[in-house]
């Protein structure tokens, strides 16, 4: 029977609530946020968030890369992140001298205007540490130019037995890569034009070899501007040939992939450490909701309890509780919050506790004045006359009247809880083990994102904070309008 009453009440409430379009927008947003939270492991990568603080995990990802979709809006196309697992392998075994020569060919089809940030060859080798292999690497450009990048390098490993070695060659990290590329281009130009063109000599004079981006040289046409970075892109097939000379016929190489570190990455780009911002932001949703709701519910609950009890009991208890409430209310929240977050362990639960400690007093003051009015009602007098205890009166008669205000307050307090936590995160005082939007913004500020115009790092986290805030403000406003009718717009 009770549930039928409740159902009718809820239906009435809903038909009243529906009238406030802004409230409905709020509900839609809330549903969206909840869906985002639940779907997070499916639309983003949880491994990314688990490894957020592990630097080595992000070695394969480009740093400060804008999102992939900017290619749709730009005439200039940037190279996308790719993992090329197709390769051709060619083995040449010489049993007599116990030598095996293996050639691995990776082909990369470059159709962009802006080259990738790096090319990384990954393979696993197995050999005896006492007779390490030698390897060379050369690149064949679409214009036929074959440039030697590494010549006869010995793979030094410690140990005396068969070792499994994970090889990882990043082009931009090869020794003297710039000089080799420049020499390779020069040689090709010489062959083609019978002498080195003047413009090349001039450019070579002007540039500072260490300041050149090897990717830009590698992927540009061998014409004017190639060394100064103003040339045109050379599109087509690039082949990377890795040649390993094994000193034992039984040694093996298993190529893994050719990693193309894109100039763009993912749905939301990467931050200064190469971390995937889409995953960070999507998984931040659950924390924002938890922090906001938990803080708000707890502080409102405590505030209502304290306020109503104080108002109802009156007398000395009231005075005492009021004094304490006023002390808390008069304290400037942020400076003290920052102070305490600084002194305590950096944990999200500590932050929530602190937020609640500073949050309940406002609610207490209002509910106290509500209780002061409510306790004058006749039915309260009647209840007292029949011997009801204070606790019973408070919980049965007064609390239910305060509930509507409490609900509206819970909703309206969520944005400030989230903003305050984001502020603490931004200052580096929140939990370092979880990824919150405030923390992403902290990294953005520290990583010079504002200076370098890395808008995909700065805008989305703040936007999400604002979105969650707005959701609860909209809902709170509508709740307030329905449950506490006072301001009638005539």
């Amino acid at each position: 029977m009770v549930s039928k009453e409740l159902l009718v009440k809820l239906q009435d409430f809903w038909s009243e609530y529906k009238r406030y379009k802004i409230g409905v927008v709020g509900i839609v947003l809330l549903v969206f946020l909840l869906v985002l939270t639940i779907a997070a492991p499916f639309i983003a990568n949880p491994e990314h968030v688990k490894n957020w603080n592990v630097a080595e995990y992000w070695a394969d990802y480009p740093a400060e890369a804008p999102p992939e979709w900017i290619n749709w809006f730009s005439p200039v196309k940037r190279a996308v992140q790719e993992r090329i697992t197709n390769y051709t392998i060619h083995e040449d075994v010489h049993e007599a001298i116990n030598v095996k020569i293996v050639e691995v060919y990776f082909t990369y089809d470059y159709e962009y205007d802006i080259p990738p940030k790096d090319l990384v060859i990954k393979a696993t080798l197995q050999f005896n540490a006492t007779t390490p292999p030698l390897y060379s690497l050369r690149v064949i450009r679409p214009d036929g130019n074959e440039i030697r990048l590494i010549t006869q390098k010995k793979l030094e490993v410690s140990g005396a037995n068969i070792t499994t070695y994970d090889m990882r060659i990043a082009l931009t990290k090869i020794e003297d890569i710039n000089t080799r590329l420049i020499n390779g281009i020069e040689k090709w130009l010489e062959e083609k034009y019978e002498e080195v063109p003047e413009w090349f000599e001039e450019e070579r004079e002007k540039v500072e070899v260490t300041m050149i981006d090897p990717m830009l040289v590698l992927f540009s046409n061998a014409s004017e501007g190639i060394l100064s970075g103003t040339g045109s892109p050379l599109k087509g097939n690039y082949t990377l040939a890795l040649r390993v000379v094994f000193r034992c016929v039984n040694d093996t190489i298993t190529p893994t992939e050719l990693l193309v570190k894109g100039s763009v990455y993912g749905l939301c780009g990467t931050d200064g450490s190469g971390r995937d911002l889409w995953s960070g932001i999507v998984f931040g949703t659950q924390w924002a909701l938890i922090i906001g709701l938990l803080t708000s519910v707890l502080s409102t609950f405590i505030g209502v309890l304290v306020g109503v009890t104080s108002g109802y009991l009156g007398g000395l208890w009231d005075e005492l509780i009021q004094r304490i409430t006023q002390i808390f209310y008069s304290m400037p929240v942020l400076p003290l919050l920052i102070l305490m977050a600084y002194l305590w362990k950096r944990s999200i639960w500590n932050v929530i506790i602190l937020l609640v400690i500073f949050g309940w007093s406002g609610v207490a003051i209002v509910t106290r004045s509500m209780a002061l009015q409510l306790k004058e009602a006749l039915y309260v007098e009647a209840a007292k006359a029949t011997g009801a205890s204070s606790a019973r009166i408070i919980f049965k008669y007064i609390m239910p009247q305060v509930l509507p205000y409490a609900f509206a307050t819970i909703a309206l307090n969520v944005p400030s809880a989230i903003l305050t936590e984001a502020g603490l995160s931004f200052l580096g005082l929140s939990d370092p083990t979880i990824v919150t939007w405030g923390r992403i913004l902290e990294d953005a500020n520290g990583g010079g994102a504002v200076m370098k115009n890395l808008w995909w790092w700065v805008i989305p986290p703040g936007l999400m904070i604002a979105l969650v805030g707005m959701t609860f403000v909209f809902i709170g406003n509508a709740l307030d309008a329905v449950l506490n009718p006072k301001l009638k717009s005539r």
Binding site: S330, M331, L334, P335, L427, L441, G462, I465, S489
Partner: protein
């Protein structure tokens, strides 16, 4: 109760709050600040050379004696509650000590008092100016919205207010910097350079103009985030007042609408509006820490943040004390003003 008793009660309340907060902060910091003191004493002791005549065992004794001397000098030998008491008393008498690394910008002094006194006016200038502009805009918009309830203006103001309530002020600051400072180069990126700039200024007009130039972006940020809320609250208050009987009576008497609005309505609406504005200023001073850091605005918020990073406990205690003091004083003034304007409040 009479006005006099009301004032006294409020003032005592405020003093209690101030004291309690000061004690809490001192207790929290006493360990950290003493750790520093002890390590600097140890550094000093290391440079001391014992007299040649002493045998090695006696050297250690001698060093202990010197250590005790130093401890006595700084009062470290007394029981904890006494040390807290003396610290609190020092702060109350504005004897705030010296900072270990921080220095004030212009004079280079490392006395905590000087550091704070240099930064405090900056925060006040920025946030008070912002607040004044905010109130001006908010009042005008709010009044208009209240007159035409349900209009597009009214609904936009509600929407803007709700959206800006959820915006982190410091994030908006970052966006402003990114766009107007670094991209378009219209405004400077670090407000700290203002001190460099005003050195070359000759006349007061240029002085003000230079400050204004450096203050422009932070000012716009603060106003942008707060004007919506102010307008919305003003609108609500004015709507409430417009429903009062005396307004209807005034209109019935034939008083022109403008006089009704600006004469009667505004006067009734001003106490709550003033309260709200004062509370806003206080609220923004709290958020000032982060906003000032983003813009490198040389105000109290930034001083607080730097002190925190460098563990300058003297500065931290001093700044916290000053900000709580201002906060509490503003609340008292508000209560008093409200008490004078609206006698009903004195009974609650």
């Amino acid at each position: 109760m009479g006005l006099g008793r009301f004032l006294v009660v409020k003032t005592i309340n405020a003093a209690i709050v101030l004291l309690v907060v000061l004690i809490i902060v001192t207790v929290l910091f006493i360990d950290v600040s003493e750790k520093e003191l002890i390590s600097s004493i140890e550094d000093y002791l290391r440079t001391l050379k014992p007299p040649q005549s002493l045998p090695p065992e006696k050297v250690r004794e001698w060093k202990e004696q010197r250590r005790m001397e130093e401890y006595r000098r700084y009062g470290l030998d007394k029981p904890k509650w006494q040390r807290i008491f003396y610290r609190v008393r020092d702060v109350l008498m504005l004897n705030l000590g010296t900072a270990t690394h921080m220095k004030s910008f212009i004079s280079g002094s490392n006395k905590v008092k000087d550091i704070i006194l240099e930064a405090l006016p900056n925060t006040i200038i920025l946030f008070t100016t912002a607040q004044l502009i905010d109130i001006a805009i908010g009042l005008i918009l709010g009044l208009q919205a209240a007159r035409k309830v349900g209009s597009i203006l009214d609904r936009s103001i509600s929407l803007i207010a709700m959206i800006s309530y959820s915006l982190p002020m410091w994030w908006v600051g970052m966006l402003m910097l990114m766009f107007f400072s670094y991209r378009l180069r219209w405004f400077p990126s670090s407000a700290l350079n203002v001190y460099e700039a005003i050195r070359h200024v000759s006349n007061p007009l240029e002085y003000i103009a230079t400050w204004a130039y450096y203050m422009a972006l932070p000012l716009v940020t603060v106003v942008l985030v707060t004007f919506g809320g102010t307008a919305y609250v003003t609108r609500n208050i004015v709507v409430g007042v417009l429903q009062e009987d005396f307004v209807m009576a005034a209109r019935a008497k034939g008083i022109p609408e403008r006089k009704v609005l600006y004469g009667h309505v505004l006067r009734t609406a001003s106490p709550p509006i003033v309260t709200m504005s004062a509370l806003s200023i206080i609220g923004s001073l709290g958020g000032a820490i982060i906003t000032e850091t983003v813009f490198t605005w040389p105000g109290m918020g930034r001083v607080y943040w730097i002190a925190l990073q460098q563990s300058e406990t003297g500065v931290l205690i001093g700044t916290t004390f000053i900000s709580v003091f201002l906060f509490v004083v503003t609340l008292i003034i508000l209560d008093i003003v409200y008490g004078i304007l609206d006698p009903r409040v004195r009974v609650g």
